[in-house]
């Protein structure tokens, strides 16, 4: 009786999960396994033969100067994450209670995050226009005679992308911080006030430590989100000028679909996976700490 019930349960379980599992198998698991295999081949799209090349792709990656450039650009890209979080924290604390028009303001800050990355990419491209764009117009107005060339120069292009990304992620980070702030018991903040803590002290010594698990979570998930992204960069600069905005994720796309070096692209994409894995493990460890809070 019990055994047949268990069997029935199992069948039902698979019935419910089955349809979704087929898709996950077809569009996630099989491609992932296939990609793992491709990493060890010299597969080029449309080429007549494919050979098993062992670790050649990985060796090539290690010696590829462009890979190093892409990796460095990726780290510059990642700088946007903590900066955006810092700004978002300030905005979230301000919007948590002590402000009028809370809902409208939240919506305004969140707006960039829901809009199409490609559309905003083109808007920023014009805003950053070096000779007559509004941003440099403003900087000249401030008395800076020689403002940066932004997206058109190799020294500044990655930082220009950072600015766009900080702007884009701010609303997201703010919403998560707001959710965390609302979890803080009112009494703690009140107690600090009664003890005579100034607002700044309350923020630093009460609120900031209490949201530190959220800070950690946002940092790790933000790094993962950022490292995967290449749409905005592809739309604005395609990795240029030179290779100054070629980040790792874009580098993979270029190798696969511009040069059709699909085996090599697979190898780099697993390097990207390795980095994401490190962040995920960190998050896993952090979460354990987080639960205890």
């Amino acid at each position: 009786m019990h055994k047949s019930w268990m069997k029935r349960q199992s069948r039902l379980g698979y019935l419910f999960i089955g349809p979704n599992m087929i898709g996950v198998l077809l569009f996630f698991i099989i491609p992932a396994v296939y990609s793992f295999y491709l990493m060890f081949t010299d597969y080029k799209f449309m080429s007549p033969e494919t050979h098993f090349v062992g670790l050649d792709n990985i060796r090539r990656m290690m010696n590829d100067d462009l890979f190093g450039v892409a990796l460095r650009n990726t780290f510059v890209f990642l700088l946007a994450v903590p900066i955006s979080m810092g700004l978002a924290f300030i905005v979230a604390v301000a919007l948590n209670k002590s402000v009028y028009w809370q809902k409208t303001l939240r919506a305004l800050y969140f707006m960039p995050y829901i809009t199409s990355g490609v559309a905003i990419a083109f808007v920023w491209m014009l805003l950053f226009q070096p000779t007559s764009g509004p941003i440099n117009g403003f900087l000249r107005g401030l008395g800076i005679t020689n403002p940066p060339g932004w997206l058109s120069t190799t020294e500044w292009s990655m930082y220009a992308i950072d600015i766009i990304w900080i702007w884009f992620m701010l609303g997201y980070n703010m919403i998560i911080y707001l959710a965390a702030l609302q979890e803080i018991p009112e009494e703690l903040v009140e107690a600090a006030k009664i003890d005579g803590a100034r607002p700044w002290q309350t923020i630093r010594q009460v609120i900031w430590p209490l949201v530190s698990p959220t800070t950690f979570l946002l940092l790790i998930t933000g790094l993962i989100m950022t490292i995967k992204n290449f749409g905005i960069i592809q739309a604005i600069t395609q990795g240029g000028p030179g290779n100054s905005t070629t980040v790792l994720s874009l580098f993979i796309y270029q190798n696969a679909f511009r040069y059709y070096e699909m085996g090599y692209a697979a190898a780099i994409s697993w390097a990207l996976f390795a980095i994401i894995m490190v962040f995920t493990v960190l998050q896993w460890i952090g979460q354990k700490r987080w639960v205890h809070y």
Partner: protein
């Protein structure tokens, strides 16, 4: 790490206001100042959008006049007309995006709900292992999957068709996680009572759990829709023909072909953004709730 307690903070308010009235008006002033500050910063945040819309109505000569002309001297509709007419128009892109996003979203919500129920409410062999495999798939970056999917779609013959976006779009691991979390929070007494009345899992799922989960389903639907609508990377990899283009690709195409027409570019960008702003205004509550609840998605 600093001590998270205020107990040891020194009382540092020697000239604290005496009367309660004064204190209240002081906090009110502080509130007004903070509101103004935050509004100013918010305005800065949406400045690119305002500039975009304003530029789309300017004459070419006024695009870069400085100080910025926020209100164009005359309203030029021609750029918007250009975007919506011609060989490949935004009407086509809108229809394509709408088709892909709607079918994918409906499929994803339904299929995720089904799987999430299985994971949350049915005991079966291998459940934990399977769930772990799902979990691990969230770590795999889309770049790992692009090449194999490209080859698979090419082989099956759906490369460069909308199916290449719709079919994978119907499966979202994030959706399974989110709904599973919700289903776990539904008290088990509810289904136990139904079990005693002789109802099976299917009945409980359709008659009890799904109606209860309407807000969660709506949240997933809106978030999923926005992902599909804004998805540029997949469209970039899997679509070639212009008449199949979605809004992000159409936008890119328009800008490549009109790269000196800045007003036209901004009119096109406006067309690309408006639908999501409408979705956001309608479903704001769900989007914010869903995003706040999904910080773990990675």
């Amino acid at each position: 790490m600093e001590k998270p307690l205020a107990a040891n903070a020194k009382p540092t308010a020697p000239h604290a206001p005496k009367g309660k009235v004064r204190m209240e008006s002081l906090t009110q002033i502080r509130r007004i100042i903070l509101t103004l500050l935050m509004s100013g910063f918010a305005l800065l945040m949406i400045m690119p959008f305002i500039w975009m819309i304003s530029t789309s109505f300017k004459s070419p000569a006024d695009v870069f006049t400085y100080p910025i002309q926020w209100i164009p001297s005359s309203l030029n509709w021609e750029h918007h007309i250009k975007v919506w007419s011609g060989a490949d128009t935004f009407a086509t892109y809108y229809l394509n995006s709408l088709k892909i996003s709607l079918i994918s979203t409906i499929g994803a919500v339904f299929l995720s709900a089904f799987a999430a129920y299985g994971f949350a409410r049915i005991q079966f062999k291998g459940r934990e292992t399977l769930f772990l495999i799902y979990l691990s798939m969230m770590m795999v970056p889309p770049q790992v999957l692009f090449v194999p999917k490209f080859l698979m779609f090419e082989w099956v013959g759906i490369y460069n068709t909308h199916w290449a976006l719709i079919l994978p779009g119907m499966f979202t691991i994030f959706g399974v996680f989110m709904l599973r979390q919700f289903f776990l929070s539904v008290p088990s007494e509810i289904s136990e009572a139904a079990f005693i009345d002789g109802a099976g899992h299917l009945r409980i799922f359709f008659r009890l759990i799904l109606p209860l989960a309407k807000p969660a389903l709506a949240t997933l639907a809106i978030i999923d829709f926005s992902w599909h609508w804004n998805d540029y990377e997949n469209a970039l990899v899997f679509l070639i023909d212009k008449d199949l283009y979605t809004v992000p690709l159409g936008l890119q195409n328009f800008i490549l072909e009109n790269n000196v027409d800045y007003n036209g570019m901004m009119a096109a960008a406006t067309a690309g953004i408006i639908p999501m702003i409408i979705v956001f205004l309608v479903g704001q509550h769900y989007i914010i709730q869903g995003v706040a609840g999904s910080a773990v998605k990675g």
